[in-house]
Assembly symmetry: C2
Homo-oligomer: 549 residues x 2
């Protein structure tokens, strides 16, 4: 060999390394290298892992009928001003030599809408969905956890364009079905949760999460109907017996027309949930009033207050009753006809153990989680701003409906590593592992090693420091998270030992074992969990085991 | 089908489209879409073409023992200041929210040297070569020709690290052999030329070109020894009979120590060639003096001029003789011992028809060309600045030697399109074509179309507007540059017609035809150049033809 092996992975894995936080572990094992805060270089092992995930996503997206494109990372200021997103403080901005402004794209709603609008003309062209897997940029002030929240990251973003909202919602559901397949292919247990649509805006949105105690998100799951929601969207009822007698807080808001005062009453001990409040009043709240103080809202409302024309709505959290300790009502004069009270709505953040507002039966259990995907039905937010229209059958022009769908590809690697790792190191599902199998051979077994390598369907990892012991090689293979290690030693030859590092998702291999073990010379030692097999048949056994890993 | 076909390619190809400049043609046919000057979005057809080229490069680089990485596009200012490249006016620069400076990488010598230096410690780790295929950025003031010179472009860049110059030069040769394989795989005739190493710096460099009249580069090729050189590196002798009696120009320069005046004399009708001048004086020229006027150089030299210690070298272009009309010599006093004259060097740009300085026999012929790859032996330029050292066997630390090797991947697409296109549109070699074959069927032959599709090894292009005629579909397939079109019509069924659009590189198919035509029911019509075959055997014939395309 003229060129040397990559030395990014230390030949000796120490306990100090194995105890590092996951993003440090990935660096120490040679998957990535941090270049600056939130900015990474991908090393060969990390790049292979990334490609595997890309492959899974690409296959499922193509299968769903989506078209792959690859948009520039540089986007012109004008588009972002049109949609009002140029002022986003997390945009990386730059000027070219001619002083023209660009940003590095964090997502591509603006560019893809501009692009598609220049090709899509007729109703016959819709619906259509395009996706890309490209680098994105977000100038996070506090980038965290390496891959989990980077300033440069790889993202799969898809965008769909539609005749009407019905078509858009049906595509939204269809992409969610594709996401279910993608995350099932990856093989790490996941949940999908009804979610707040956040800054992207829009009406419907769903999040994909891995449940894990290290997660920054909190999900609530009903133990009866099994619905999962992000805390922002989780409606709940109090446990019956608990009557609330404490202080009541109020948040004043205005409706969108600014002619009605909305008074949101809730237990002072709880957090108001703006999304639930919105649902209570059919989404008729002026967004700005969310961030104004009560005094500011009242001042705005009373400016032109006229009891004849201005209404008042009081929304009562379901936890309150007449014995709760309400604050004074600020207005002295109002007409009964212009006054309404909405009772029994849940407008605060859920707490563990409360009752599910969906089925009104089960208890809600909380879990920490890591978000790995997000789908949005966007409506006309971007298409309207960018005047993306199509011509209908009757020759009139209509603004398109849109959806957008993201998966943080590099984030996904960090999340999978985090939720699957254990005290021995990483523990990849075979779908994403950079190598499906390693061959750990003693220094003296070079010929045998080459024999085994030649028989395998998958190119094995053998990039060990020649001088280390078999034991150290197995330890390194396990720390790297490779699902299967084949151990080749002079003593056991012509048999080899197969050590399973991966986490079994099913036990189908046991059926194959019963059928084939005498035929393949395959012995399983239940105590050690190790398999022994004639080297000629190692490939068969590896393939059987990999299907469960 | 729930989603629509991509409508990036017009269903009707007009003559206006076919006559566009290549970068416009690629846009009109739906390969790419310009987002802003020098910045492109990749559409599905373009992305498939790009992936094919990436695949060829990746396969050959991996085979050569290179390790694939993927470095960030953001690079910190400090590294670029260390190597003196931060002041480059073509760097896209930006600041993050904390006012820290970054650039978008145009190449990655700084980052890769920093990265490798943190892993490479011992002589045992060398030699090693790493490569990546990633987006690069260059703020060209006048981006030209879309893909040929973009501000954002895809580049394969490789970097090698070595014990010593001997090792570095041997790797340089080895990478050049890999490049020969890559360009041979692509299938467009290419030449490699000894070249100037330009801004990257270093001692040895080789360029890869496609010869084409539209090219911006000029190459000279000897009709005897066949050596090809870029004009910057092409030494030449005048045709014997031509004595130069005209005016003589002089360019003054200083040696690196600034203690010797170098006077470069050459015919006033010709252009001085700095690289050839450097060779004449063993590379001992102060680079800055290249850009100073003669007056400035003389002023600097005479500041501390002392005939006892300061030397003078006169370099005479081989075309001059004593009868040429020399300018006055500026210095009146010098010592004979400190004065040297070098005769018979060629220090001007070659002209068509002059004699090759390599073999001193053949005539030099010029050709316009498009550069598509460049390899450099870098020496210690970057490793020294960034203090990239390794420990030798004797425990002393030594600065590594380096090489770097680029292929403009997106540029390559533009170049291939440019040199292979003809009046019918694009004409891809099958190695890079987004589809190897299309199936053009009449509206009434849907069943037959599906039968043929199912029998093909390669997924065919069938994305035509259903309403267009077979003729228009064939025209579109040809314009898109797909090497083979299978025509399925109700009249000829169960036979299909095979039209070859690609450019035959060999005629091996004729041997197969002689052997197999009766067996496959394969008829070739020499006049029309069309093949006719039973549809069941179309796949066999397509595969035979593709090997030559």
């Amino acid at each position: 060999m003229l060129f040397r092996r990559f030395l990014f992975t230390p030949s000796k894995i120490t306990n100090d390394i194995l105890q590092l936080p996951t993003h440090e572990l990935l660096q120490q094992l040679g998957y990535v290298k941090q270049a600056s805060s939130g900015v990474l270089h991908w090393l060969p092992l990390g790049l292979k892992t990334l490609r595997n995930i890309e492959g899974i996503i690409r296959r499922r997206m193509d299968e769903s009928g989506a078209h792959e494109v690859s948009l520039s990372s540089l986007s012109q200021r004008s588009l972002w001003e049109t949609t009002g997103r140029w002022s986003n403080t997390e945009l990386f901005k730059l000027k070219d030599a001619k002083k023209k402004d660009y940003c590095l794209v964090p997502t591509c709603e603006e560019e893809i809408t501009w692009l598609m609008n220049s090709y899509l003309t007729s109703y016959k062209d819709l619906p259509i969905i395009a996706y890309q897997i490209t680098r994105k940029y977000r100038d996070e002030l506090r980038p965290r956890g390496g891959l989990l929240r980077g300033r440069e990251f790889l993202m799969k973003d898809a965008y769909s364009f539609h005749l009407n909202s019905e078509d858009a919602v049906s595509t939204f559901e269809r992409v969610n079905a594709t996401y279910d397949k993608i995350f099932t292919d990856i093989g790490v247990p996941f949940v999908s949760a009804v979610a707040d649509s956040g800054d992207i805006g829009g009406d419907l949105s769903k999040e994909y999460h891995f449940i894990h105690e290290s997660g920054e998100d909190t999900l609530f799951r009903c133990n009866s109907c099994e619905a999962v929601s992000n805390i922002e969207k989780c409606g709940s009822y109090p446990v019956e017996s608990k009557e609330y007698l404490g202080d009541v807080s109020v948040k004043y808001a205005l409706n969108e027309e600014n002619d009605t005062l909305v008074c949101l009453y809730y237990p002072a001990s709880r957090h108001l949930n703006w999304n639930l409040a919105l649902e209570a009043v059919d989404n008729d709240l002026e967004p700005q009033t969310r961030y104004m103080t009560n005094e500011e809202v009242l001042a705005k409302f009373t400016e032109n207050y006229d009891p004849m024309f201005n209404g008042i709505i009081r929304v009562m959290d379901v936890r309150l009753n007449s014995r709760s300790n309400f604050p004074d009502f600020p207005l002295k004069s109002y007409l009964k006809n212009n006054f309404a009270q909405l009772n029994d709505y849940s407008i605060v953040d859920v707490e563990e153990g409360e009752i599910c507002a969906q089925c009104e039966e089960g208890e809600l259990e909380s879990a920490k989680s890591i978000e790995v995907g997000h789908t949005f039905y966007l409506g006309k937010k971007y298409s309207k701003a960018l005047n993306a229209t199509f011509r209908q059958q009757d020759n009139s022009d209509v603004v398109m409906e849109m959806g957008c769908y993201g998966i943080g590809v590099s984030r996904l690697i960090g999340a999978i590593a985090q939720v699957t790792r254990d005290p021995k190191g990483l523990r990849w599902p075979s779908s994403v592992s950079p190598y499906k199998v390693s061959v750990c051979a003693s220094d003296k077994s070079v010929d045998q090693l080459n024999k085994v390598k030649a028989l395998l369907d998958y190119k094995p990892y053998t990039d060990f420091d020649a001088k280390t012991s078999i034991g150290a090689k197995i330890q390194q293979s396990h720390a790297l998270g490779i699902p299967i290690a084949i151990v080749v030693g002079p003593k056991s030859w012509p048999n080899v030992e197969i050590e399973v590092r991966g986490n079994f998702r099913s036990k189908n291999w046991e059926t194959s074992y019963e059928k084939l073990h005498s035929q393949l010379g395959w012995e399983y030692n239940q105590e050690s969990g190790k398999h022994f097999v004639l080297h000629e048949n190692a490939n068969d056994v590896v393939n059987i085991l990999l299907k469960d890993l």
